[in-house]
């Protein structure tokens, strides 16, 4: 974990400036500005309904699948605005992967789940696909558990395995950023511990943004923590500082359980 004594060496990967998010008439996110560094884990915490999941989904524009939304302000990946830079959302989502709150494997075999993304992008060669699938499953610490049953349906796996499969599926297209929307909320403590361990390994060459309602989890896995409240960013800092000496009274109250 990054400590206050060592200076940040990683560049800014995602940058947000004065961002508003409207769902119909309702303003869900209000004037957000923050930077997310490459190869770091950034946790977003806050009470239910504070807009943290909504914010996360803005990075890959996935809420456009189900509803008409309006984003204003700046949201950049490597300095390119993802809403007005003429970026195709399909290209964007290839670079910015996502793991959802509830594991959502496709009703296909384990192998086909992981091979899904590479196939979309035109990988047809069997040996190449085999390699990608094995690599992604190894990275998600699932390979040893499933290598003998790759042809079996993914829906027969345990919840924790399904979630790691979803991580493998996201990794298979080699994203630069991985968004995780409360990835452990449907899992038991042992499966949760496995995913947290995995997050520590994955940040070696991946920018991770994780939304969590579990403050201990944020403290365990993240380098930076952002505290949201009612659609506003109250405070963002190194995780160590947020959990020991927060600047805002509100952050301290939330972390100590006085509200939320």
């Amino acid at each position: 974990m990054l400590s206050p004594q060592t200076p940040e060496t990683k560049p800014v990967k995602l940058s947000v400036r004065n961002m508003d998010f409207r769902y119909g008439e309702k303003k869900v996110l209000d004037g957000l500005s923050l930077d997310i560094h490459a190869e770091r884990v950034t946790a977003i915490i806050g009470p239910s309904g504070c807009g943290k999941s909504t914010f996360l989904k803005c990075f890959n524009r996935i809420h456009e699948v189900s509803s008409a939304v309006k984003v204003s302000g700046d949201m950049q990946i490597d300095g390119v605005d993802i809403y007005r830079g003429g970026i195709d959302e399909v290209d964007l989502r290839r670079r910015v992967g996502m793991v959802f709150q509830k594991p959502n494997p496709f009703p296909k075999s384990i192998y086909e789940n992981v091979a899904f993304g590479p196939r979309l992008f035109g990988v047809k060669d069997r040996a190449t696909l085999d390699g990608i699938v094995e690599d992604a499953l190894r990275k998600s610490a699932l390979w040893d558990e499933v290598k003998d049953r790759l042809k079996e349906s993914a829906t027969g796996m345990s919840g924790g395995q399904q979630q790691r499969l979803c991580i493998a599926r996201a990794l298979a297209v080699n994203p630069e950023v991985l968004l995780m929307d409360e990835p452990c909320s449907a899992l038991d403590p042992i499966a949760t511990a496995k995913i947290e361990e995995l997050i520590g390994e994955l940040k070696e060459n991946l920018t991770i943004v994780i939304v969590t309602h579990n403050m201990q989890q944020a403290a365990r896995v993240s380098d930076y923590t952002a505290f949201f409240w009612l659609g506003k960013l109250i405070e963002m800092d190194l995780t160590e500082r947020i959990f020991t000496t927060p600047r805002e009274r509100m952050t301290e109250d939330y972390l100590t359980g006085r509200f939320g």
Binding site: N60, I62, V65, S66, V90, D91, R93, R94, G97, M98, F100, K102, N104, P105, F106, P107, K108, F116, G117, L120, F121, C166, R169, A170, V173
Partner: protein
């Protein structure tokens, strides 16, 4: 086997934990304040009997029809009481395409082949159209159009088949004859299958729409989060995920198609010798000959000839056997799909 719910009810509440005395339990009176009246209990028993009777009645009806068809149909092959005519062998009925009852030839292959052809063609037209329309309604149509189309489809399911038949006879047949086949009649499999397809499409659309709407949004999001386009998500994730229910939709359409008599009878041409006629004609390509030769099916022959044959005659008995065959074919399809659906779900 002991009933789990009974043992749970019998166990005294919180008996295992004497330290946790619940004040609520203590304050309850010894006798329950409310009991069902004797009348209510009696009504319960009677309604149970009523439901049981209704259920048994349905089973008895289905079994009765099956028995009736089998008993009458068997007369075609066995010298049973009430049989006034000669009996046939299974071979000359099921393995012969020669149908000429007046000279004692009773090969029903043309009808079986006709039923399968017209149903197969109809499904070929209706299943893809219906499923893709289902995708459109469930995933792509704007709200008002979705509501409108669902209501229209539900209405179309209820239109009597004879109406489709009239439409085929008065509109489609003359149109096809005039447009493409200047000198020959248009009756045959093509027009019958088209009419049949129009008839079963609403059923397939309705059930496919339900199938797609019941899929969790998470599947589509998961696919698009990996960088798939909307169409790729539909083709590679949603349609495969809905496959068991789409199969059911198609089979229900199939069941309606194979049993349909009125609509087809009006446009198919009713020609039991269609196989011979098709073979004899050489003026058109085989596909066109197949599509536009007046033909017949099991159902159309039943509708056409049942009123014209004498009870107890070979012909009449055989018509019952054909009815039984239709019955068994439909049952077989339904059972096979159920098994198929179960395997895919497992």
């Amino acid at each position: 086997m002991p009933d789990a719910s009974d043992t749970l009810l019998d166990a005294p509440p919180c008996a295992s934990d004497p330290t946790r005395e619940s004040p609520v339990v203590e304050s309850l009176p010894k006798e329950p304040a409310f009991r069902h009246s004797r009348l209510q209990r009696l009504a319960d028993r009677w309604s149970h009997l009523l439901f049981l009777t209704c259920g048994l009645l349905v089973v008895a009806l289905i079994g009765g029809i099956l028995y009736f068809l089998a008993a009458r149909g068997a007369g075609a092959f066995l010298p049973l009481a009430g049989n006034t005519d000669k009996v046939l062998t299974l071979k000359e009925v099921f393995l012969s395409a020669d149908w000429d009852p007046n000279s004692g030839k009773f090969g029903i292959l043309p009808f079986i082949a006709g039923s399968l052809s017209v149903t197969g063609l109809a499904l070929l037209l209706a299943a893809p159209t219906g499923i893709l329309t289902g995708v459109f309604i469930a995933k792509l149509a704007p709200g008002w159009m979705k509501t409108l189309m669902r209501q229209v489809m539900d209405l179309l399911v209820g239109i009597p088949s004879v109406v489709y038949g009239i439409f085929g006879l008065m509109v489609v047949l003359p149109w096809v004859s005039g447009k493409w086949l200047s000198d020959s009649p248009a009756a045959g499999f093509a027009v019958s299958a088209a009419i049949l397809a129009v008839m079963i499409v609403p059923t397939i659309v309705s059930l496919s729409t339900d199938a797609f709407e019941s899929l969790p949004l998470a599947l589509e999001e998961g696919s698009q989060a990996l960088g798939s386009t909307r169409w790729q998500a539909i083709w590679h994730v949603l349609i495969p995920a809905a496959r068991p229910r789409l199969l059911t939709a198609t089979v229900l359409g199939l069941g309606r198609a194979i049993g349909e008599a009125m609509a087809i009878q009006m446009v198919i041409g009713n020609n039991p010798q269609w196989i011979a006629l098709m073979r004899g004609a050489t003026d058109q390509t085989p596909v066109l000959r197949f599509l536009f030769t007046p033909a017949a099916t099991l159902t159309t022959e039943l509708v056409q000839e049942l009123p014209n044959t004498a009870a107890g005659s070979t012909w009449n008995n055989l018509l019952f056997a054909m009815g039984l065959l239709l019955y068994l074919m439909t049952m077989g399809i339904i059972l096979a799909t159920r098994r198929l659906g179960r395997q895919r779900n497992a």
